[in-house]
């Protein structure tokens, strides 16, 4: 394990239902770096993100995940979140009747409580929100609406980034954050992500397309194919993938 690794995934095997999807995946996320995972459809990209956050769909059948040197394989989803692992969902779920602000404050206060800090009251919380909303180009009424209910694709993604900004996680997994975003939304979302870069946090950007990587500059590109990382290289790999596709990539 690299001394600068914040998360190490070792020989990870996982299935959804009876289907084996991750087949011995190895990956190290370095603190302060942006890792991009690219790969063809069905390679296991979304399953990897679900596995890292303890999704109920996924059964880990082998290997391990270490976060700050500690195995998180048996941890519940909320524990992983409280420890600083965050997934921006590809398809954020709508929850009618749950006020967005109430949800965000509940999440933030759960984290603050976990860290031994005082919980924020409604006024303090709203003050904290204001700047973030402005930066993400979100209307203030979005936080008084039901969580993701009736939000456009772009609004949902902005709301995911808003949660990320508020919760200040240490490992940030962005599952196809660029899907369904127009240029303005992509720029706003990228700005939010870039704001979180502080040399300590790690990002795992899962994407099909290189477009998002023009805004969030990756340090490493990993190619995921058939449940395993088959190649890791620098950002120059993106151009090669764009030109030749995944078929030409040989396993290292």
């Amino acid at each position: 394990m690299s001394t600068n690794s914040i998360m190490t995934i070792e020989n990870l095997q996982a299935k959804i239902g009876d289907k084996e999807i991750l087949k011995g995946l190895n990956l190290q996320l370095e603190a302060g770096k942006v890792h991009a995972i690219m790969g063809p459809n069905g390679a296991g990209k979304s399953t990897l993100s679900k596995t890292l956050v303890g999704h109920y769909d996924v059964t880990v059948t082998g290997g391990d995940i270490f976060y700050k040197g500690k195995s998180i394989k048996e941890m519940e989803a909320e524990e992983r979140a409280l420890e600083g692992i965050f997934l921006s969902f590809q398809h954020p779920v709508e929850i009618p009747g749950v006020n967005n602000a109430y949800f965000l404050r509940s999440a933030l206060n759960a984290k603050r409580k976990h860290e031994g800090k005082e919980e924020l009251n409604a006024a303090e919380f709203l003050r904290l929100m204001r700047g973030h909303l402005e930066m993400l180009g979100m209307k203030s009424d979005m936080i008084s609406r039901s969580l993701n209910e009736g939000f456009s694709g772009g609004e949902k993604k902005r709301n995911e980034i808003l949660q990320m900004l508020i919760l200040e996680p240490e490992v940030i997994i962005l599952d196809e954050i660029d899907s369904g975003l127009d240029i303005d939304a992509l720029r706003a979302v990228s700005e939010g992500i870039n704001k979180m870069k502080d040399g300590k946090r790690s990002f795992l950007v899962i994407t099909h397309y290189s477009r998002i990587l023009d805004y969030i500059k990756p340090d490493y590109i990993h190619v995921l194919k058939d449940g395993r990382i088959i190649k890791t290289a620098g950002p120059e790999l993106v151009a090669q993938l764009e030109e030749h596709g995944y078929d030409t990539i040989e396993e290292e």
Binding site: E78, F103, A110
Partner: protein, 395 residues
């Protein structure tokens, strides 16, 4: 007195027992419907027979002086206080609905020789608090409520019980919603345990172009059934919403008949039911559109969430329609909390218990937030949380 004894005695003997002199018609009607048992459709899921086997002391509501207070307080069926200027008094019942479907409506009338009459003047808000203090008692009382034409009145109703046991409350309203008026009734009935059982049998007449907004929030444990017959005149509108959140081995719910009599009358009835533990929820609701009610619209829906494998929802939406010129729909669903939604909340660090609470409240919120008064709304939410935390560890 055991109510079950009414099953096996003759009319004359019953007339003597219930002191019904001059009200024989009511008794005839009661006898023709018969004391409910487990075969009675309206009481099928309620275990009414057990309640009728208890030996109660009958506590007749003896009218006394009414003091001045902020709200109407009714203690064991007797008005203790009322706001200054409110027209509230006792009198003999002038008219009961002789076509009511519920035998307990008639028994309630028979056991209440005088009724409490409330006439709400003008645009008013009124709180009515029912208080029960006696164990092993049968507490029968009835209220007749009138509002004024062209006015908007709101009634907030709540219930408090001392540390009592084995009491059966048999009460109900005859409500008359005047022409062109609006009457809002918000009932908050939180029963922490089985201190008493309740059968509430109501009749609501909604006059021409009047609006009746009837919201009931039944929370907690115990046994309680509300039975209501609502009749709509021309262009009358009824918006009825019932929230049920039960735990332990509670059995509670609503049995209703929404009867469209006038043309262009509209009704919307929505039930949301959350059932925990071994609780049983009841929603047995009929919409009847009569020949005279052309161009009516009726909508009815029941949704239930079961939080425990032993919880049970008895939902029975029904339509009885005699004309073609109308719009009507009904439906019922029963399910569990969404795993996807639960996970989403947990993935943000919210504990499983809190995530469940948030989703349960979210399910209920669409009804709770229709209560305009924020203080009342907060009270309902607080009672709701209290019920949640009796069965779930605080996160």
């Amino acid at each position: 007195m055991k109510l079950s004894t009414l099953k096996n005695i003759q009319f004359e003997e019953m007339a003597t027992l219930l002191h019904v002199k001059g009200r024989e018609q009511l008794l005839e009607k009661f006898c023709s419907l018969g004391l409910p048992d487990k075969k009675s459709e309206a009481y099928r899921y309620f275990d009414v027979e057990k309640l009728f086997e208890s030996d109660y002391t009958v506590t007749p509501a003896l009218p006394g002086a009414i003091g001045i207070g902020k709200k109407v307080v009714i203690i064991d069926g007797v008005v203790s206080t009322a706001p200054k200027g409110l027209r509230i008094y006792y009198k003999e019942c002038e008219s009961a609905d002789m076509e009511h479907f519920d035998p307990m409506y008639f028994l309630g009338h028979l056991l209440s020789p005088v009724i409490i009459k409330i006439e709400v003047d003008g645009d008013a808000e009124l709180e009515i608090e029912h208080h029960f203090t006696k164990s092993n008692s049968l507490v029968p009382y009835r209220i007749v409520l009138h509002n004024q034409a062209n006015r908007h009145a709101t009634i907030y109703e709540s219930f408090i019980a001392d540390d009592i046991e084995n009491t059966l409350v048999l009460y109900g309203y005859d409500m008359h919603v005047a022409q062109d008026s609006t009457l809002r009734v918000v009932k908050m009935h939180s029963m922490p345990d089985s201190r008493y059982a309740m059968i509430a049998s109501h009749k609501v007449n909604v006059a021409k172009q009047a609006n009746a907004l009837i919201k009931s929030f039944d929370l907690g444990g115990g046994q309680a059934l509300q039975l209501m017959k609502i009749e709509l005149d021309t262009y009358a509108h009824v918006d009825a919403a019932h929230l049920l959140y039960l735990n332990k081995d509670s059995k509670r719910g609503t049995v209703s008949q929404m009867i469209h009599k006038g043309e262009h009358s509209t009704s919307k009835q929505e039930a949301k039911n959350i059932l925990d533990g071994k609780a049983r929820g009841i929603f047995d609701a009929l919409i009847k559109v009569e020949h005279s009610a052309k161009y009516s619209k009726a909508e009815q829906n029941s949704k239930a969430i079961l939080l425990h494998k032993e919880a049970y929802m008895a939902a029975k939406p029904q339509l009885e329609i005699y004309i073609d010129e109308l719009e009507a729909s009904h439906g019922a669903t029963t399910g569990q909390l969404s795993e996807k939604q639960l996970f989403y909340l947990q993935s943000r660090g919210i504990s499983y218990t809190e995530a469940r609470k948030i989703l349960v409240i979210a399910f209920a919120n669409t009804l709770i937030e229709t209560v305009k008064d924020t203080r009342q709304q907060e009270q309902i939410k607080a009672a709701f949380e209290e019920v949640f935390y009796t069965t779930h560890q605080r996160g």
